[in-house]
């Protein structure tokens, strides 16, 4: 049971429960969605290049990436809104590549919600059921149950324009789930909402997810917190390609690429040169960052002289001030000068220019910690388990 506060100040209680007729969780964990080398091109522009992706039943996969990375195109290809120029799309093992959206039976919630503006809320939710020629009595019952599921039963006779963004989003979800899809696609469903409502709806989506264990979900977002909250696995997209896919923990703590480290968690990347042999991926490696020695987790094999980058999350740094510019020799300690300090409510964000290395790192300090001032000399220290090596190379 979730409680949400309306703008009027009245508390609205929203109970999320599965549709009454929902089936039993299938034991078979076959792939609900499978993309085999799917490409989408517009003329000479490649919008999606050779995407390989599987989503199991009951699994949520987030497609995360910046604008133009191909994540929405991938979703449109699954929904049948875009015809792939290459590759195959399978739903429950059946090739649906050439079929129309109507034949796929997928629930889709888009960024603008795409509610039918000339129809009342109950008619919007009933639309897919009427298209399936369901008996009227059953349609009425299903509509009632779906609207109750998202806490919108009191708004059944309103038009979409009479609802707030968050309410419209709930209706869009109810409409998509009314047809009992095996796959639910959500394309940036929270991006049109303000920050507080977005946080509220994220909690509701999380609750909804747990109440619909049989549905495979593909969630497109550019917001890492949404992906980390909702997804079992995250597929990081970049330049129309899949950069990396893995669990949230994997990608956050052991990113395999500099782009993932930077995009998911805003890690600072520093060029490094290996000084040890790492034969077994996952062990600690010694590297030199400028003239400073650092120890870091190496997810790949290394030999001395190999170039890589160390990735450190902003919150992983420890900061201590120092009175003058003395040399710093301790492992995993880097000297720097504070360039700027931003207060961010829950803490402070520092930009620190490293001394002896032409790099700037971002440091997040928790609230109540001593905050240095711009221009202060500091030593940044980080635990080796919070430093991970990623391959050398440009991020952009």
């Amino acid at each position: 049971m979730l409680s949400t506060k309306k703008k009027s100040g009245r508390t609205q209680t929203m109970t999320i429960r599965p549709p009454q007729e929902s089936g039993v969780v299938p034991e078979d964990k076959a792939n609900a969605v499978e993309l085999r080398n799917v490409s989408v091109t517009y003329g000479t522009t490649v919008a999606l290049a050779g995407l390989e992706l599987t989503v199991a039943r009951g699994e949520t996969v987030a497609l995360l990436g910046p604008s133009g990375s191909g994540k929405s195109t991938a979703l449109k290809a699954i929904a049948g809104f875009e015809q792939p120029s290459g590759g195959r799309i399978l739903l429950d093992g059946v090739d649906v590549t050439g079929t129309s959206p109507a034949q796929r039976g997928i629930g889709v919630v888009v960024q603008s919600y795409a509610l039918f503006p000339h129809m009342r809320i109950d008619a919007n939710v009933a639309y897919g059921l009427k298209a399936r020629k369901m008996p009227k009595a059953q349609i009425a019952a299903r509509v009632k149950s779906m609207l109750a599921m998202v806490g919108m039963e009191d708004h059944a006779h309103k038009l979409p324009r009479q609802l707030s963004g968050g309410q419209q989003q709930r209706v869009a979800i109810a409409r998509a789930l009314a047809i009992k899809p095996q796959v639910l696609l959500l394309d940036e469903p929270l991006s049109a909402l303000d920050a507080s409502l977005r946080a509220e709806m994220l909690i509701e989506l999380q609750a909804l997810r747990s109440e619909l264990p049989e549905i495979a979900m593909v969630y497109v977002t550019h917001d890492q917190s949404e992906a980390l909250t909702l997804a079992d696995r995250i597929a990081v997209m970049r330049n129309s390609r899949l950069e990396e896919i893995g669990t949230a923990d994997q990608l956050y703590n052991r990113p395999a690429s500099a782009f993932t480290a930077k995009f998911l968690g805003g890690a600072s990347l520093l060029p490094a040169v290996s000084t040890t042999v790492v034969a077994e991926p996952g062990s600690l490696a010694s590297v030199m960052v400028g003239a400073h020695r650092m120890k870091a987790l190496a997810p790949f094999a290394l030999v001395p002289g190999d170039r890589a980058q160390v990735a450190v999350r902003p919150h992983a740094w420890q900061v201590s001030t120092r009175s003058q510019e003395t040399s710093v020799s301790a492992v995993n300690s880097l000297p720097g000068r504070v360039e700027s300090v931003q207060w961010r409510g829950a803490g402070h964000r520092l930009q620190v220019d490293l001394i002896g290395i032409a790099e700037r790192v971002t440091v997040d300090l928790p609230a109540l910690s001593a905050v240095p001032a711009p221009g202060d000399l500091v030593v940044l220290t980080v635990d080796p388990t919070h430093v991970v090596l990623v391959p050398a190379g440009a991020v952009a």
Binding site: G80, A102, G105, I106, V108, P117, H118, G128, A131, I179
Partner: protein
Amino acid sequence: MLLHAKSARFTIWAFLAAALLLLVGAPLLVTFMAAFAGSWNGVLPSNPTLDHVGGALATDNLSSLMVSLQTALFASLLAVLLGTWAALCACSSPANSAVSRVSDAVFHLPAAVPSVVVGLGLLTAFSKPPLLLNGTVAIVILAQTLLVLAFAYSTVSAATRDADPLIPLAAASLGASRLRVLVTIRLPLLLPSIVAAAGLAVALCMGELGATVMVYPASWRTLPVTIFTLTDRGALFDAAANTLVLIAVTVTVLAVIAKFRGKTAVR
């Protein structure tokens, strides 16, 4: 241009009001006065009479009015149907694509060509078998349809381009066939624009003369043709009375259409 001074704003508005009065108001006022004038020898008309208006509402002229109404309504219906269909087809191809550009050019062409040329073209094209339309009602309706088609197409086309393309896709993802999406989603969303196109088409058809005068058969004389004939004969007061009737009927039809349009605008 941004005008902040009150006096400057007043000057601009006064100039605009004077221009409108001179260009639109004066001809209408003169027509109105002439419709009720027994004679007009000085600055103002004299011997006011209802004879001309009575004549305009007599059986002969009323049949002209009915011809105009029927032609306008039928031609507008055809133009709106054809224009909507073309706009829906054009919007299914990407903007600025070859299909879209060709479609725009073809459907806008009649508006770019003088109406007399359209009339002449139709006469030339359909005066010999196998398609012999010369002297029939059909050629009048065809001429007016062609002339207003561009406006109908433009109005609906602009609405289709502005519409959220994800709405019909969302309907399709819910299992609706293309026909169901068209009938239950796309056309209802376009209805305000379709009605607006119909209003514009009716207004244009009711006053159309250039092409009609070249193709009309004697048995199918529209009111603008009657007004032109009366003016040509020097019966200016009768022409003015018929013009008043034409304006009144056109405004009434447009008011009905506007009321219907208001009902369709639920968004």
